[in-house]
């Protein structure tokens, strides 16, 4: 797969973004620039607009004003330049695992059936599910379903991956495994990732950069770059001093954000 070598040539720019649900303003003058190849986590207590932000990035929602631009054009949901991994796997239950992974290629209609199958098999193997191609999604465990969902997003070889609490519904052990695998994949493929989560450990373990969202409509509470070196690996990274320090800070930050909401 040579096309993955030159992914992420352009930054994703969120410029002066305003968005509200009726009277309720969610974002006011929000500015974020995501560098190509960067792994960005967005973290915050529930109700601070994490998913809304991802919907704005992907074009499922339109901003009131301001823009989200990749290569100078706003993103639309149908755009093949980015892949979307949802909180729940949302696989199509009437298709087999491999047919699910092929879905995006089939919609694009550029490859022959055998080429589609080959490519889909490649990404299914990459998420460690070789041999499960003929299973119906219903027969797979929650973690396996989420891997299929990841493979399905990867087959279109997107430059940008948007992930909305993708492992939030999984148990802690499975989630750690999935985090390890995601890092391996990301180091190999090198996409820009915008990762939404409410799990502090997950955010620190994965990210180059972490943004803590404030309560609406204040936008960003904190934006910092992680100094934890790469490559990162399991226990070593999760128990290093820097990890604990970030964890303490982030916990305080999130408590502050939550407290400010109570006062308001």
């Amino acid at each position: 797969m040579d096309s993955v070598q030159h992914v992420g040539g352009d930054p994703l720019v969120i410029d002066n973004l305003y968005f509200s649900y009726g009277q309720l303003t969610i974002f006011e003058n929000l500015n974020i620039t995501v560098q190509p190849g960067e792994f960005l986590s967005i973290i915050g207590p529930s109700g601070c607009g994490k998913t809304t932000l991802l919907n704005l990035l992907s074009g499922f929602l339109e901003p009131d004003s301001g823009s989200v631009l990749l290569r100078g054009t706003p993103l639309k949901p149908e755009d093949p330049h980015f892949g979307y991994v949802f909180q729940h796997a949302t696989l199509f239950p009437w298709l087999s695992t491999i047919e699910n992974v092929e879905f995006g290629l089939k919609m694009a209609g550029e490859l022959s059936p055998s080429e589609m199958r080959e490519k889909a098999m490649h990404y299914l193997a990459m998420v460690g599910l070789k041999g499960f191609e003929d299973y119906l999604p219903l027969k797979l465990s929650g973690g396996m379903q989420q891997r299929v969902s990841l493979a399905r997003a990867l087959t279109l070889e997107p430059r940008l991956l948007l992930m909305d609490e993708p492992f939030g519904a999984l148990d802690a052990i499975t989630r750690d495994d999935m985090n390890d695998e995601l890092l391996v994949l990301w180091e190999e493929l090198g996409q820009t990732v915008v990762f939404i989560t409410h799990d502090i450990d997950e955010a620190i373990y994965l990210s180059d950069r972490i943004i803590v969202l404030n309560r609406p409509p204040h936008g960003i509470y904190k934006d910092f770059k992680s100094e934890i070196p790469r490559p990162r690996s399991g226990q070593e990274t999760r128990t290093c001093d820097l990890f604990w320090e970030y964890k303490k800070d982030l916990r305080n930050d999130i408590e502050e954000v939550a407290k400010s909401a109570v006062v308001a």
Partner: protein
């Protein structure tokens, strides 16, 4: 695709696996026989319900008796009418007539319901518009339209229209409800994978609504079949299973009447097994969530 099919097929069962359902029909027949004996002995002077074997004899009698209208249909020119056992003689004429009427009315209703049901599912405005109309047609038994329709059309057309009216509204509602329950998440996932509106319809909405379409088919068919039998009794054109039951009453042939009743049930059962069960098999594995 082929290997997926294996997943969907049921587990191969042992050849002789015991089931209590083996006793259902035999016990009914036994009850029938005993009940007729009992009534002969103590209740009626003249027998009303024929014995099982009298009905079987009637079946054979009808199969042997060809009718011009029916059996000449299968022969060419004005030659000696050929007889085929599988046309089932005059009984076959009744079955074929009912079959034609129900299939034309039901398939017509299904095509219309598929179109209107999807429209009602997608468009709130159209859903609001069509709901009272469905309510009106659902609250009037379709057979009530029969006398009026017979005045307006040929009898065959009138019966087909009664079948259509009976089937169309429940099918529209079932399909509409099905489209409404399709999860927005699946549609979003497909859009994020690049599906355009037309592709969304064929690759997401259509497969996702297959269970509801089948449920609609079932409800519609049961309504259609009931209406058909009633319409044939009212506006008989001298042939059809409903007519067989009604006419046999006048002729005093209770065995033929009973035979009509049996075949009304049997045909409906065959439709269920051969058509609806087969469609259902395609999705019953994944629908379990």
């Amino acid at each position: 695709m082929s290997s997926v099919q294996d997943e969907r097929l049921p587990v191969k069962q042992k050849n002789f696996q015991f089931s209590w359902s083996w006793f259902s029909i035999p016990s009914l027949l036994l009850f029938w026989i005993l009940a007729v004996y009992f009534m002969d002995a103590f209740v009626f002077e003249n027998r009303v319900i024929p014995q099982v074997w009298e009905v079987v004899a009637e079946f054979w009698e009808m199969v042997k008796t060809p009718t011009d209208a029916h059996d000449t249909y299968y022969t060419a020119g004005g030659e000696e009418p050929k007889k085929y056992w599988w046309t089932l003689g005059s009984l076959g004429a009744h079955i074929w007539q009912s079959f034609k009427e129900v299939v034309i009315g039901f398939v017509g209703a299904f095509i219309v319901a598929l179109f209107l049901g999807f429209m009602a599912g997608f468009s709130k405005g159209f859903r609001e518009y069509i709901t009272p109309l469905n309510g009106v047609f659902m609250s009037i038994p379709a057979i009530a339209w029969a006398p009026l329709l017979i005045l307006m059309f040929e009898k065959f057309t009138a019966i087909v229209l009664v079948v259509y009216i009976a089937a169309v509204s429940p099918m529209i509602i079932a399909i509409m409800e099905g489209v409404l329950t399709i999860k927005g998440q699946e549609v979003r996932a497909a859009r994020a994978l690049g599906a355009k509106p037309k592709q969304l319809f064929f690759y997401v909405y259509l497969p996702a609504s297959l269970p509801f379409i089948t449920a609609g088919l079932r409800i519609g068919f049961s309504q259609a079949w009931r209406a058909l039998v009633a319409a044939e009794m009212v506006g008989g054109i001298g042939v059809g299973l409903g007519h067989l039951v009604a006419m046999s009453d006048e002729l005093g042939s209770n065995a033929a009447m009973m035979l009509g009743i049996v075949f009304i049930g049997l045909l409906s059962y065959i439709f269920e097994r051969l058509v609806f069960r087969r469609i259902e098999k395609r999705y019953e594995v994944w629908r379990l969530h």
